[in-house]
């Protein structure tokens, strides 16, 4: 399993640097170990997952239970809408398509600094090429209007972040099972 931290080049967001110093410092070894282990086990390469989430704690919680899955899913993270769009369109810091592969699934938070998740969703779902990428909104908001709007834009699933650890575990398990095991995703990128 690969976890790739897309550290924002934007120096205006210093917390990200701090966060990256803190947590991932001890992690790469573990990841590499597990990746090696799982690669031996599974022959099929899982498509990457892009998580657009500004909260480090929420991201950490998500990744924590994602990691427990036996499926090897490369994870890319963006912390705001601009980054996510740059990632998908290979612009800005992501001109190299190797560093920004086309994701098989986007986990999208709605309330993001700057360009928020609603805008990202709208842009992606209006793009002929990108709209095939399934998007799961994973957000705090249970506002009926948000739910309605997101489905109008063509979101594939809308999940309200629970404040309940057991529920969280179940939610993540179901996401992975559904989108990476049960579902056959379109693999071909048109660009």
């Amino acid at each position: 399993m690969i976890a790739i931290f897309n550290i924002s080049p934007d120096q205006m967001v210093p917390q990200q640097g701090a966060q990256n110093r803190d947590e991932p410092s001890k992690e790469p070894d573990q990841h590499l170990q597990r990746m090696t282990a799982t690669r031996d086990f599974f022959t099929q390469q899982m498509p990457p997952m892009l998580i657009v989430e500004d909260s480090n704690e929420d991201f950490e919680s998500f990744r924590r239970y994602l990691r427990r899955s036996p499926l090897q899913i490369p994870i890319y993270r963006c912390t705001n809408g601009e980054q996510a769009l740059a990632f998908l369109y290979h612009t800005g810091n992501y001109t190299n398509s190797q560093s920004a592969p086309r994701p098989g699934l986007i986990i999208l938070d709605l309330n993001l600094p700057g360009t928020d998740g609603r805008e990202v969703l709208r842009r992606v779902k209006q793009d002929e090429s990108l709209k095939k990428i399934p998007i799961v909104v994973f957000t705090t908001s249970d506002n009926p209007r948000d739910i309605e709007d997101c489905y109008q834009f063509g979101v594939n699933s809308y999940i309200v972040k629970p404040i309940n650890i057991e529920q969280l575990k179940r939610d993540i398990q179901v996401i992975i099972d559904y989108w990476f095991d049960v579902t056959t995703l379109s693999e071909r990128s048109e660009d």
Partner: protein
Amino acid sequence: MTGAMSELTNLDLTNCDREPIHIPGLIQPHGVLIVLQEPDLTITQLSANTQAVLNRSPEELLGKPLSSLLNSSEIQNIQQCLSQDFESINPLNLSIASPEKELEFDGIVHRWNEVVILELEPKITGKEPDFFDFYHQVKEPIARIQKAPTLLEMCRVVVKEIRRLTGFDRVMVYQFDSDGAGIVIAEDTDQETPYLNLHYPPSDIPKQARHLYTLNWLRLIPDAQYQPVGLIPAVNPSTGQPLDLSMAVLRSVSPIHLEYLYNMGVTASMSISLMQNQKLWGLIACHHKSPRYIPYHIRTICEFIGQVMSTELINKAASENSEHKQHLKSLQTHFVEELSQAGFLLEGMEQLKPQLLDLIDSTGAVICSENQCIRIGKTPTEGEVHTLLDWIKPHFNQGIFETRSLPKQYPAAKDYQEIASGVLALEISRIHRNYILWFRPEVIQTVNWGGNPNKPVEVLSDNSLRMSPRKSFELWQEEVRGSSLPWQPYEVEAVAELRNLIVGIVLRQAEEMSSMNYELQRSNEELDSFAYIASHDLKEPLRGIHNYANFLMEDYVEMLDEDGVSKLQTLVRLTQRMEDLINSLLQISRLGRADLIRQAVDLNDLVHQAIATLTITRPDLSIEFRIPRSLPVVECDRNQVIELFTNLISNAIKYNDKDERWVEIGFLEGNEIPLEPRDSPIFYVRDNGIGISQEHLEKIFQIFRRLHGRDEFGGGTGAGLTIARKVVERHGGRIWLDSVPGQGTTFYFTLVAETER
């Protein structure tokens, strides 16, 4: 009296008005009247008393030139007088030689209808009054008249001055109203019985007498018991008509009038016309118990004073009105100021009750707003006012309706004409049904008739025919029955002005209200979006705490003892409780933000759905749901109202410790609602639960207000009733409750605004 009465029997008001009082063919005996034919001034007609006054027989003078009586310079004076304005030259000093002594006369000459009339009144004093006497005599009174600050004050000055000049024992100013009825407004007398403020019917002074008063401004009867003197010949030879004595100072008055003077104990009388805009405004009336002759030059002064007063009337009346207007204005300003400080028009007016009667001189007033009435002073009943108002409404002219004789236009008002013969109504707002009505009583109630109208002495009369006082009073009473004193034009103006001011206030209040509403709405919206954003943003760190506490338990389980784990579990539990609270806040905030979607909702379905939702998770729940009769279909927001019922029913289930629990859901409508009948139903949710003590009734709708411990009665965030109230308020309705501790609670609510009834 008998004679007068027998004459009276043939007179009604109509022929009273027709009696030709300007051609009586008679004069009073205190002077002689000589008719002259121009150009040579031949004597063609004269009074029969020349022998007594001039010591010449009529036969001796008739047909002779005037020179047979007067010398040439005197005749020249008269000629000159006739060619000029004789008013300024009268009286002429004339002397006539007689065997005993030289007789001195005041000669008064005038030309009227082509006829020259010379009247001679014997001089009483030896000294000739000259211009300087006149000047001295009038200077003081006129200064005082002009200085008088008010019309009434001027009248008081005038009666004093006239009495001082003439020595009459009673001098009055008598003012006519627009109908010709009169009132004594000023009096100076040494007599016991005052006539001040007595009222008199218009019939007291017939039309033709009024006409004469406008021509000839001063009339004198030195002795009412005089023997009238005829003219020789009776018919004027040059005109072939009875001699027109309209302008003659010696004209004999109607015998009936003399009779009345006698009955009043008046022997000498004089009256001076007071004119305003060529109309008879009133009279200066003078009475004396014994005969009293007033020399011509004094009469001239009196007449002059009358003329000055007439001129001043316009000024004084104008300034009188302006003073009154000023007074009204200040009352009005005060009234409006206080009114504008009151939050609501009706409340404001209620506080200003007494001023409302001062504002417009009235004895009763009613303020109507919507269907409420505030009655002040003497007014018809509330029911009568409403019916009256309905009748008045189509009669409003520019928002004002006024009448001084309501029963004549609106017969139903006969029932209360004693208190409301006069009505002045003001329409402030037709939409809000805001009206003010002022009432004046029937005039009989207010007029000081001076006691028993049988007594002739109570009637002021003048040189005119009139009915017997008794009959006159009855007739007059009949005339004024159902009539009040008139509303003065300036009063009506003041009311119109008041209307503008009130409308101004109402508009301003409406404006303030709408800007307040706007502010309130804006701040409510801000609060809602604040609550939404805040609770949303609160959730993120809360979720972090929740998850990380769990991570601690997962990752460090070996390092934690039982107590450590239990504390972390408490931490997790608290995060979940906090989430419940935040969710309640969010829900309330969302209620405030979401659009209200009104649609026809069958409340039966809705309530059953709410009950199902509540019971489905608790199959063990033993509770009886009572719906006594089928609930109606109402226009409401389905999602919100289901929330409302869910919260109320949930509370009813929760707060119940009885063995047999029940919840009743029903409604009241129409006549089932005592005191407050309305078209839209009142719904209720009733339980036999623990009830709420009186002291807590106010608090239960407050957000997160709990009356019981967190874990008692199944817990909860304490937001349920706040949500319920929010739903009701969003529908424009009201929610309230009745509760008996230990027995149960009933929540009532409506889903329609009161004004939408």
